[in-house]
Point group: C4
Chain length 254, copies 4
C-alpha cells in the first residue's frame, strides 16, 4: 500500500442540523447556514479540487440529494464518487432496527436517481451499530467509512461476509477545529503534519470536509494550502471506492 | 458589484443578556458588563470608526434605545445608520406570532424617537422565522441582515414582495472568538483574510461587532488594525442601507 | 489619575469549588487542586511579587482564612492588603438577604483575626445584588471590586452613601484563559497589550489572579513576564485600598 | 531529590468511555476510537519511548487488561511498570464502599495475571475518596498518583499508615489540550516550559498520556519533541515505583 490522499466531503445540507433538523423547521437562519454550504461552500470546494485535479468522495444523505438534485448531479458529472450517508441524517445508534433499514433503503433509492448504487457508506455522526453493519453486508456494500479502529484500511467481519473499513478520526475532520474558535491555523498545522506522516509511513489518509464549514472563503483557502502540501509530498488523490477496491483483507489489529 | 466593507455594530445593552435579560434583573455584575459596552465600548468603537471615516450601521433593540437615548442620539448625529434589532432582544423563533408583531412595532416606535423609520432589520440571535419575514414585508422594510445563505447580498421572496438580504456569519461576528479564550489573534487572522478575499472577489463584506466585546481596550485596538487593512486593500465603507439600495434583485442560489 | 497596576489575588482555597464546595466534601482530588493553590501556588505568586516589590490585594473568603491561618498571616506580614471575599464563597445572587448578611458578618469576623477590618469587598463569582451593595454601605466598606461598568474607578450610589467601584473584567482574570486549553500565550498577549493601553491612557488597571491557576510553575513564569512589562512601562503597583482612597467621586458613565 | 521525568500512560481502552463505557455497548465508532488506542496508539508511544530508552508506568483498568492481554504483556516485557487503575474505570467517588472494594480487588487480580501485584494506584478520572485511600493502605499499596496537592512527591497519612503521593495535574495531562481544538502547539509549549522549570527547581515531574490521544500520528511526533527536550535538559526517566521508593516521608504542605 502506498501513500494516497482520500478527500471526502459530507454534503449534509439542512439535514446536518441536530437530529436531522427536527425542531429547526422554522429556524431560517440556522437552515440558511446549511444552504450556504450547498450554494457557495460546495462550489468553492469543487473549484479547489479541480485546481489540483483531485477526485473525491461525497457522502450525501438521501433527503439532501432529493432537495438539491442539481448540485448533486454536478458532483457526479465532475467525476466524483457518491457515498451513502443515511437518508435523514439521524444517528443509527438512536434508531430502531426497522428505522435503520428504512434509512439504508431510502438513502440508496435517492442516490440511485443519480446513477448506480453507492459502493460505500458513512454513518451520520460517525456512529453505527452491529445492526448497521449487518444491513450494509446484506445490501452488498463494499466498504464503510465511520470507524476509527486504525490509521490504515482494514476489514470488518459481518457474519460470513466482510466489509472494508476506511477509518476516520475527529482530528481529520474540519468540524472540531471551528466549534470553539475560528482560526484555521490549528487545522492547517495538524493536517499538514498528518500528510507528511502518511507519506513517510506509506499509508493512505482520509480527510473529511463539510461545505458549510470548510467552504467559507478563508477556509477554502486553507484547503488550497493543504492540497498544495499533498501535491508537494507526492500524495496521489484517490476516491474511497478505489481505495476500498485496492484493500486486501486485513482484520482490525487488536 | 464591487468590494465594500459594511461595519455593523449590535448595541444590545442589558437586553443582550440571555432571553433579553430575564432572570438577570438582580445580577448587577452581568448587567454592568453590558453597561460598559454602552459607556466605554461604544465610544471606543466610534472613535476608531471616526479615525478611518467609516460610516456604519448600528442595530439597536427598542428598550436599549429607551434606556440609553443620549448614546443612541450621538450615533445618529455622527451620521451612522440605525437598524431595527427587535424590542426586547428575545429570539423571534421563541415567540408567538402576536409577540413577534409587538416586537416589530414597539422596536420601530422606540427608534422613531431618533428620526425616521429604520430601513433594515436584524433578528436577535440572528434567528428568524417565516412569520418574521412576513412582518418585515408588511411593515415596508427594505432589507434584513440575519440569514447566512450566501456571501453576497441576495433577495428573499415574501409572498408577492421581496426583501434584500445582507448575509452574516458567525466567523464574521466578534462574539465566538471570545467565548472560549481571549486572544484576539484568531479574529485578526480570519477577518484580515476575509477582507483580502472580498477584495479579490469584488463582493461586499459585512462584519458584526458588539461594544461590550470588541470595545474592550485591547480589542478596539484590533479593530483599528482591521480597518487599516481594509483601507490598504481599497475597500470602501458602506452602510447597510446604501448596500441594500444598490442590490439588484437576485434570488438565493440553491 | 495616572497609570497604576493593581494586582489582586483571589485566595479561594477549597471554597472556590462550585457552590462553595458543596458536594465536593469527598472528592479529594478536586480538593487537593485547591490546596495546591494554598501550599505551592501562593508561595510562587508571593515570590514573584516580592521580586518586583509589588504590594497586592488578596481577597480571602472567611472559611479559607480559618482553614489556612498561617498562609493568610504571611500575606499580611509581607505588607499586602486583605479584602473581603464572602464567607463561604457562595454567589450573593443565589442567597437570601439573611444569608447575605451572614456572609458579610462572618467573613468580616474571620478576617478580623488577622488585623483590622477590610476596607474592600469582592463578590464570589463577581456577581452581587442591590442587597449586597446595601450591606456594604451599612458596614462601612470603602470600596467594592466586582462590577464591570467602566475601565476606570467610579462611584456607586447606595441610598445616601456611596462606594468606590474598582472594576474588573473576565479578560483581566486568569481563569477564562485556562478553561478550554492551557497555553498561556493568550493571557500574555492580552494582558501585555492592556498594560500598554492603560499606560497610554493614564488609567489604573486591575488584574485578577488565582493561586491554583496562575501559581502553576509555567504560569507563575508568565506572571513574571507581565510584571517585567509593567515595570518597563513605568506602571507603579498599588493596592486596592490605596487606589480607592485616591478615587475622587465620579458616577458611572451611562 | 533531583529532577526526574516520570512518563505515565493511562491505557483505558474501551473502559475509558464515560462511566466505564456504560451506554456505549452498541456505539461501535466511539468504541473503535478506543481500540485504536490499543492497536495503533500504544505501539506508537512504545516506539517513541524505546527511541529515548524511557521506562514508563502504565496504569491499566482490570477489564482492559483482560480484554487486551497481549498488548499488556508486551508492555511488561519491554520493562515498563504496571499500575492499578481500577477495574471498570468508574470514578471511585460515584461508587459505594462495597463497589470500591470490588474495584480494587478485581483490578489487582486482573493485573496479577501479568506478574506481581502493582505497587501503585491511580483513580479513574483522578477522583478518589477517603474510602479509596483506606482500601489502598489496607491492600499494602506503596503509592497513589491521583491527587494534585503539590508539585513534588509527598506522603498522605491513612490511619496509622501512609502512602506516597506522586501528584498530577490537568496541565500535565494530554486530554485537556485536545478537547476543544486539535493543535498540539499548546501542549508542546506548556510541557516544554514545565520540563525546564522542573530541571531548574530540581524536582521530579509526572506527565500523563493516553494512547488514543497522544498516540495519533502527529501527536506521537510531539511526544518525540518533548522527550528530546527532556533529554537535552538532562532529565533522567524514572518509573513511579522507583520514584515512590525514593521518596522520604514528607507530609502535604498546608
Amino acid at each position: 500500500m502506498i501513500a494516497e490522499l482520500a478527500v471526502t466531503v459530507d454534503v449534509d445540507g439542512e439535514a446536518g442540523l441536530p437530529d436531522g433538523g427536527r425542531g429547526y423547521e422554522h429556524r431560517l437562519s440556522s437552515r440558511s447556514e446549511r444552504t450556504y454550504g450547498i450554494a457557495r461552500g460546495l462550489p468553492r470546494i469543487l473549484a479547489v479540487l479541480a485546481e489540483f485535479e483531485v477526485t473525491a468522495t461525497f457522502y450525501v444523505p438521501g433527503i439532501t440529494a432529493q432537495r438539491h438534485p442539481d448540485e448533486i448531479r454536478e458532483i457526479v458529472e465532475l467525476g466524483h464518487e457518491l457515498g451513502h450517508h443515511g437518508h435523514s441524517h439521524r444517528r443509527p445508534d438512536t434508531l430502531s432496527a426497522g428505522d435503520q433499514r428504512d434509512e439504508i433503503e431510502l438513502g440508496s433509492a435517492a442516490l440511485a436517481e443519480h446513477g448506480s448504487a453507492p459502493l460505500g457508506y458513512r454513518a451520520p455522526g460517525w456512529e453505527l451499530t452491529d445492526t448497521t453493519l449487518g444491513l450494509l453486508a446484506e445490501h452488498g456494500f463494499l466498504y464503510d467509512s465511520s470507524l476509527m479502529g486504525d490509521d490504515r484500511p482494514y476489514t470488518v467481519a459481518v457474519g460470513d461476509r466482510s466489509l472494508v473499513e476506511l477509518p476516520v478520526h475527529w482530528s481529520l475532520d474540519d468540524a472540531p477545529y471551528f466549534s470553539a474558535h475560528a482560526d484555521p491555523a490549528g487545522l492547517l498545522a495538524v493536517w499538514s503534519r498528518e500528510l507528511e506522516l502518511a507519506a513517510a509511513e506509506r499509508r493512505p489518509l482520509t480527510l473529511t470536509l463539510h461545505p458549510e464549514i470548510l467552504g467559507r472563503p478563508h477556509r477554502a483557502d486553507v484547503l488550497r494550502r493543504i492540497l498544495e502540501r499533498a501535491s508537494a509530498l507526492g500524495l496521489r488523490s484517490v476516491t474511497h471506492a478505489a481505495l476500498a477496491s485496492a484493500t486486501r483483507p486485513r482484520p482490525a489489529a487488536p
